[in-house]
């Protein structure tokens, strides 16, 4: 079976830990290309069913992660499986999945791990019932999402190129099935189309590479000592009165999630309970959740109260977030008495520099360049485009030496990949084109 990859924890905006699972014959090989651990020279030699601590490198991101290899058939799916247990940030999880796809894995379809587990006789009956419901519920949601995607600039672009590509295939196939009747150079016509489509798809792919940021949004945790103004900042950012703001330290006991959109990019904001050692059991829960939420974020804004003097506790804050992307923001700029060495100075009360902070967040997370562009946002669609690009590249590379029936294998592959987005029946469309474009048949 080919190798599939997906996040196996629920894809919510923030969780402390995210698990990415790869299943299939190349799982270990793919994992060994992106995961390294001090315990092994190469992860390919990993001992099955053992957790290794190491570093996962995906595009430009590095993250500490645990990694476990389960050798077939002793695994959930009955195939070789590798699982990454990493921080819960959207960006890191998406990056790992993306890296696996680059290395040849395919995004799993809804319920596909389960399906494989079933085919290989690995799942109990009890587990089956619930999962079947879940799969159908998810697929309906997916269908809806896919439908929504089918409007706008990007959809048009994919459709156009899929259509052109079917035309290229129609050219080749007409030549093969009607060798006596078609005298025009259908091969040359096909090559022209391949070149054009390849170029356009590459553009789509490159600009979509970071596209999942648009869909998932970036997750930003707002951290700081109690009373540093975290909730006020949140309110200012949302221009809404949703968070409770008081002067009594420790009143924000739970983490709070809010989402704002900035030129098409989602920013998931996490307010955190004031991190402070406390004996109050309720507050303790809040503190734990806050730490968890922060671990799962793509970026942490550390707020420092400019109206109060710096403390030892505040200095220690930064150490807590070592390894994370951090913005140091000095709050209460309207009442500044004790200036700090900060990336930005803001005031939630006057609104000073709030927009500047948002821009800084987008810059630092790499989301800035994405706002407003026509890109693909769904993992499966991006994979489909990549598949099409690979197939077309192969077609182009071998075009002169391969007979057209071989080239057609690659082009058909590309057509089918794009059809996974457009939902077009490739065969039917190609026949329509053959019979409408060429006068064939005796």
């Amino acid at each position: 079976m080919d190798t599939i990859v997906a996040e196996s924890t629920a894809p919510v905006s923030v969780s402390a830990i995210g698990i990415v699972r790869i299943s299939g014959e190349n799982a270990l090989e793919i994992a060994s290309r992106i995961f390294s651990t001090a315990e092994l020279e190469n992860f390919i030699n990993a001992e099955p069913r053992r957790m290794y601590l190491g570093t996962v490198t995906a595009s430009n991101l590095k993250d500490k992660a645990f990694c476990m290899y389960c050798k077939a058939p002793k695994s959930y799916t009955g195939e070789d499986i590798v699982e990454f247990h990493c921080h819960g940030g959207r960006v890191i999880i998406r990056s790992i999945i993306r890296a696996c796809i680059e290395l040849g894995a395919r995004p799993a379809l809804p319920g596909e791990f389960t399906k494989r587990a079933f085919i290989n006789g690995k799942l109990t009956l009890d587990a089956a019932e619930g999962i079947a419901d879940l799969i159908s519920a998810r697929s309906e949601a997916e269908a809806l999402q896919a439908y929504r995607l089918m409007s706008g600039e990007i959809a048009k672009k994919i459709y156009e190129n899929a259509d052109r590509l079917n035309m290229a295939l129609a050219n080749l196939e007409a030549g093969l099935d009607y060798p006596e009747e078609i005298l025009e150079d259908t091969k040359a016509a096909a090559l022209d189309i391949i070149n054009k489509v390849l170029e356009e798809l590459k553009q789509v792919y490159d600009s979509s590479k970071k596209g999942s940021l648009v869909r998932e949004g970036v997750t930003v945790a707002i951290a700081g000592l109690p009373n540093a103004g975290k909730s006020s900042l949140l309110n200012a950012l949302l221009k809404d009165d949703r968070a409770i703001v008081t002067d009594i330290p420790g009143t924000t006991r739970d983490t709070l999630y809010e989402t704002l959109e900035w030129e098409g990019v989602r920013i998931n904001l996490v307010d955190t309970a004031g991190i402070r050692e406390s004996d109050d059991p309720i507050e303790k829960i809040g503190v734990t959740r806050a730490k968890t939420a922060i671990e799962g974020a793509d970026l942490v804004v550390i707020l420092k109260d400019g109206s109060a003097p710096e403390t030892e506790e505040e200095r220690n804050l930064e150490k807590l977030y070592r390894g994370k992307k951090v913005i140091i923001a000095q709050s209460k700029s309207d009442r500044e008495k004790h200036p700090r060495n900060a990336d930005i100075k803001i005031s939630s009360k006057t609104g000073h520099n709030i927009e500047g902070l948002i821009k800084l967040i987008l810059d630092k997370t790499g989301a800035a360049e994405l706002s407003g562009s026509a890109i693909l946002t769904r993992e499966r669609h991006i994979f489909a485009v990549k598949e099409a690009i690979d197939a077309l590249s192969s077609a182009k590379e071998n075009f002169d030496i391969a007979p057209p029936d071989c080239t057609a294998v690659d082009i058909r592959h590309a057509c089918r990949a794009l059809a996974a987005i457009t939902g077009t029946d490739v065969s039917e469309d190609v026949y329509d084109k053959i019979f409408s474009e060429f006068c064939v048949g005796k």
């Binding site: 079976m1 080919d2 379809l109 809804p110 319920g111 596909e112 389960t114 399906k115 079933f118 085919i119 006789g121 009956l125 089956a128 019932e129 999962i131 079947a132 419901d133 799969i135 159908s136 998810r138 697929s139 309906e140 997916e142 269908a143 196939e173 030549g175 093969l176 099935d177 009607y178 060798p179 006596e180 009747e181 030496i401 391969a402 007979p403 057209p404 029936d405 071989c406 057609a408 294998v409 058909r412 592959h413 029946d425 065969s427 190609v430 026949y431 053959i434 019979f435 409408s436 006068c439 064939v440 048949g441 005796k442």
Partner: protein, 617 residues
Amino acid sequence: MKAYDAIVVGGGHAGVEAAHALAAMGHNTLMISLTLEAIAFLACNPNIGGTGKGHLVKEVDALGGLMGILADKATIQARMLNLGNGPAVHSLRAQVDKALYHRLAKQALESTPNLTVLEGEVTEILCEGGEITGVKTALGETYLAKAVVLCTGVYLDSRIVIGEYSRDSGPSGFQASFRLSESLEKLGIPLMRFKTGTPPRLLASSIDYSKMAPQYGDKGIPTFSFMSDNFNRNDFLCYLTYTNKTTHDIILSNLHRAPIFNGFIEGVGPRYCPSIEAKVVRFKDKDRHQVFIEPEGTDTHEVYAQGLSTSLPYDIQDKMVASVAGLEDAKIMRYGYAIEYDCVDPTALYPTLAIKTVKGLFSAGQANGSSGYEEAAAQGIMAGINAALYLQGREGFVLRRDQAYIGVLIDDLVTKGVDEPYRMMTSRAEYRLHLRQDNADIRLTETGRSLGLVKEDRYKRYLEHKKEIERIEGLLSVSFSPASVKDLFEAKGETPPKSGISAKDFLKRTRLTADDLMAASPDFAGCDLRALKYVETELKYEGYLDKQRREIREEARLEELVIPDGFDYDKVEGLLSEAREKLKKIRPLTVGQASRIYGVTPADITVLIICLKKKSK
């Protein structure tokens, strides 16, 4: 009342193969044909094979069928189409002597043990408690059998149309069957109305061939049948001429008299086999269309005007033909006509070609909405095999899409249904590179043998062929010194090797062939060319073949998941409603087949698999 094991209704290309297969598999079989003169009658073009179709003939042959052997014996000219393209699409097409082909087929049936051939009109299919009991003929006689194969071709309630004239008739004046449709409808079998057509036939001696381009056969090309020894007769010519602006003007100014445009014909015609009036209307910018003049046989001057298929009135046909270069004084012997007929909606069939609602009833050929002799023969042999297996209480026989064009053909018909007559095309086979003419025997002969259809002589020859392939594969490590092949490589435009090159790498080179290898090395000089070419193809296209192998493996796994008979889709929770309806209608035999139904999503398939696994525990 006479009793048989099985009855085949119809003696066309499907009926011939079905009856032969049933008899060869040991069943006492009766074939009833409306007229024995119509046995294996080539009602349309006088040729067999072509792209995709040639592959079907090879496969029918590999399974032990008749078409390849008959076509080889009746060949009067042969061409290998697509030689300029890859080996997967090389397609043999033979002009055959029409009358001879019919006589050979009739003789073959007459001398097949266990087979009785009878002229008669079947008017009723008899059935009790949902099971077949036999058939009744127009004479009033009842014939009993537990299995019946319908191979009714274009003969059900058929009507021919020439302009304003129409007549209830089968093709070429053969009588049609007028009561069977009603009997089928009573059994609840859904029927469709399709249409096809033929061109006028002309008198050869009235044609000026000097104005046309002669079309020669190819020399030294293989035969259809694995059992044919020599190359075929190849001395008859075809000719190519063209329509012109005058022809098109004649047609365009008489469209109001064209039955396909004025509503006189309602049946759906095939896009790939358009009449000349359809071509002229649809492709207005084309200033000419090809017309191939093809001989109908060795003992007649009648020729077939391929490309002029039409149902225009006779007077327009006269003018139209006379406008074509070389046909100025041509005498029309038979006018072109369109034919409308009833056929079975193939989604009413299982992939075994068994009709879902009546046990023991099978259907094959043009009666299933396909077109073409080869498509008919392919279904015929499969329906015959499955009827035999049914009689034996054995499991049905289905070829997968990666195993044969036959598998693609039948799967397309029964899983997707048709809205026009279905023609085989190589592009319909997604695993085309694996389904070649040169490996049809390797793919299917063992299967034919285990079914009891491949007899001793063929099997022995097959084993020798396989042994020769293995011997050649053992020789592939033979090495050539750079000096010994330098000249050859340069002459062929290949970069000469710097160090020794093995025979394997030699054959992998794009511009070097099996023939070159035989000439270059005494080790290979004595090889069987057919075996060596097979090895060459497998090597040359290894990369592309491998690309598809993984996909094939994965699909094969889904094919192994059998959906039990009478499976209740209403009890499967989580299926989307569209998928549920489709699954209930098609009733796929395997999860693989289910996955190819329009409107069934991968998620539905997962839900289905889960449900099946639950059931099986």
